[in-house]
């Protein structure tokens, strides 16, 4: 079984560090090679790191409410820069305000993210999905 590399980070001007540290600990323990960019990561920094490390997925966090602005265009930028098969996950308090989950999910799926998670998500469930999605990707290869 190949060890996948995944890139983690908190996008934009967002400084929320706690969830990010937990994601790092969790996915490391789950057997991934984790490249954690920490907080305040720009779209290009995510892409640079993914290219450099041959990552299979980027897990974007946005907690502070500007996700709608910061996350837009990441998929296009990936394609532009030749990352045409990368998984994009996004999670956190993605928009400003207590929003309808389904509407937020639609919004971010439309932006090109493969999966969209609320802050209350159980990480074990994410791990299952990530395993499945990566396997499907590997098969499709």
């Amino acid at each position: 079984m190949s060890t996948h590399t995944i890139v983690l980070g908190v996008i934009g001007a967002d400084c929320h560090a706690v969830g990010n540290k937990i994601l790092e600990a969790f996915f490391t323990r789950a057997g991934y090679r984790v490249v954690n960019l920490g907080v305040m990561v720009s779209q290009d920094e995510f892409i640079d790191a993914a290219i450099e490390t041959g990552a299979a997925a980027i897990l974007v966090s946005s907690l502070y409410g500007h996700g709608e602005i910061d996350c837009a265009g990441l998929r296009d930028r990936c394609l532009e820069r030749g990352l045409d098969r990368i998984l994009l996950y996004v999670g956190g308090n993605l928009v400003v305000g207590k929003a309808d989950l389904a509407a937020t999910r639609e919004k971010f799926l439309a932006m090109g993210y493969d999966r969209v998670f609320p802050p209350s998500v159980e990480l074990d469930e994410v791990a299952v999905l990530l395993r499945q999605d990566l396997a499907a990707k590997d098969e499709g290869r």
């Binding site: 400084c15 560090a17 706690v18 409410g65 709608e68 308090n93 400003v96 305000g97 929003a99 802050p119």
Partner: protein, 481 residues
């Protein structure tokens, strides 16, 4: 000029100013003397320092929410709504402005106009400019404070203080370490010396402006002694620049005794250290932050967390309490949700404010412990700085003498690991490089051990993770399930 804890000379301040004001076009609107005149004409009940003094005299706890939206009219309407029940008001600044990213803030304003609702997590005061800020002061009936998280907050301060804001949150450490990734500590401390000097100049012009270092830091399992040490250093830095009204802050830990002891010890330690360092003639108050870590998503459960925070603020006798909302776990609250948090807090603080005296005797040992820890750390900081607090702060962070758990800054060691003890008080699991004495270490270790035995597991990082989630999952101590 040397980096040190010395009052910025007037010439130097005046030399810096054009650059500060030139960072964004609205900076040109600032006129210090006009600002001073406006302040002099402000009625008493719009002045933050007055409200703080009165609250302490009357033994009341002031209630303050957080609030800020992208557009001016909506922002004023929001504050007017909150003024129904809150005693003092905020203007919470958006996260782009906090990073001096005014172009992005502008995009946020424009998109918010299009969307018909705020897409920003705060009020972009710099972009809106002086006139807009002035309107806030004019149309909101109570004192208003700038609340943010800005490492370089010089332009924001120039604009908002000239506009008539009477309190300004932040500090060179507390608005760097928890809020940024790469900003050097020396840079943020220098920039905050500028802000404090500006406040000192208002003071000299007869205008008292309150300053409030940000107590809770990362908001997540910060042991009281660490936030106290940093608050006192920021207090010393501010006093040196001429600030005369200080509110030191503390974020609720969750254990009743520790929290009450924290507020008492904070006041006592501040007085001691300020006096020892030669500062007198200032006004000191405290602010207690309702639980700053992850909240439960369920609104009823959030009400419980909010109320408990209000209860402890009142029992501890804090001057002010910063109020959370039932939307906390989900997103920026609506005005209504925000008001609900204030109302719940209002009920509980006024129900309990007469019971302050009851716990003092009980918390004495915890007060002594916190004092001992803070004194040890502050002495080490002073030594590291060869007597200078500014240098000491920078070197202490580099050495891990000061260390904030879960902070994002690369200039923070991140070796100190907190964990709750069996009663939920925050103790230390890993001391990192913080120079605590052996007795203190033994005490922490014993407390952690006690919990480990109760839970039938070794002290471990999973315990810390469990504690991070615990309140959002309806517990205080993150017990294994």
């Amino acid at each position: 000029m040397d980096f040190e804890n010395k009052r910025i000379p007037d010439e130097r301040f005046d030399a810096l100013r054009p650059e500060v004001l030139g960072a964004w076009p609205t900076g040109r609107e600032v006129d210090f003397d006009e600002g001073v005149a406006f302040h002099h004409a402000l009625p008493e009940d719009k002045r933050f320092p007055v409200a703080l003094d009165r609250a302490d005299a009357e033994r009341r706890v002031l209630l303050q929410p957080r609030a800020g939206v992208a557009l001016l009219e909506e922002h004023i309407a929001l504050l007017q709504l909150l003024a129904q029940e809150a005693d003092v008001l905020p203007t919470t600044i958006d996260a782009y402005t906090r990073q001096n990213r005014y172009e992005e803030a502008q995009k946020g304003i424009d998109k918010s106009r299009q969307a018909g609702h705020s897409l920003l997590n705060g009020f972009p005061a710099v972009n809106h400019g002086l006139g807009a800020c002035r309107e806030i002061i004019e149309r909101v009936p109570k004192p208003v404070q700038v609340r943010h998280g800005t490492p370089d907050a010089r332009l924001l301060a120039e604009l908002t203080l000239a506009a008539g804001f009477t309190s300004y949150e932040g500090g060179g450490i507390s608005y760097n370490i928890p809020y940024t990734k790469k900003v050097p500590l020396q840079k943020s401390i220098e920039d905050w010396q500028y802000v404090d000097r500006l406040v000192g100049r208002y003071e000299a012009a007869g205008v008292r402006i309150n300053r409030e270092p940000f107590g809770p830091l990362s908001g997540t399992l910060v042991p009281p002694f660490m936030s106290h040490a940093i608050a006192i250093i920021e207090g010393l830095l501010a006093l040196e620049q001429g600030v005369r009204s200080l509110t030191l802050g503390y974020g609720q830990a969750g254990n009743l005794m520790q929290d009450v002891a924290a507020i008492h010890s904070l006041r006592q330690l501040a007085r001691q250290w300020f006096e020892a360092e030669g500062y007198g003639d200032y006004q000191l108050s405290t602010v207690f932050h309702q639980w700053m870590g992850g909240f439960p998503e369920n609104e009823s459960k959030a009400f419980a967390v909010i109320t408990w925070g209000g209860a402890v603020a009142a029992l501890a006798g804090a001057t002010k309490v910063i109020v959370k909302t039932p939307h906390e776990a989900s997103g920026i609250p609506t005005g209504e949700a925000n008001l609900q948090g204030v109302m719940a807090t209002s009920q509980i603080t006024s129900m309990l404010v007469d019971q302050q005296a009851s716990l003092v005797a009980l918390v004495q040992p915890e007060i002594e412990r916190i004092k001992r820890e803070v004194n040890t750390v502050l002495r080490a900081v002073k030594t590291a700085g060869e007597g200078d607090w500014a240098k000491g702060a920078v070197r202490a962070f580099a050495a891990g003498i000061l260390d904030v758990p879960f902070a994002p800054s690369v200039h923070n060691k991140g070796k100190l690991l907190p964990v709750r003890d069996n009663e939920g008080a925050i103790r230390l699991f890993d001391f990192g490089a913080v120079p605590l004495d052996m007795d203190t270490r033994a005490f922490h270790a014993a407390k952690v051990k006690e919990r480990a035995i109760a839970e039938g597991r070794e002290p471990c990082f999973q315990m810390v993770i469990d504690d991070i989630y615990s309140i959002s999952k309806g517990r205080l101590v993150g017990r294994p399930r």
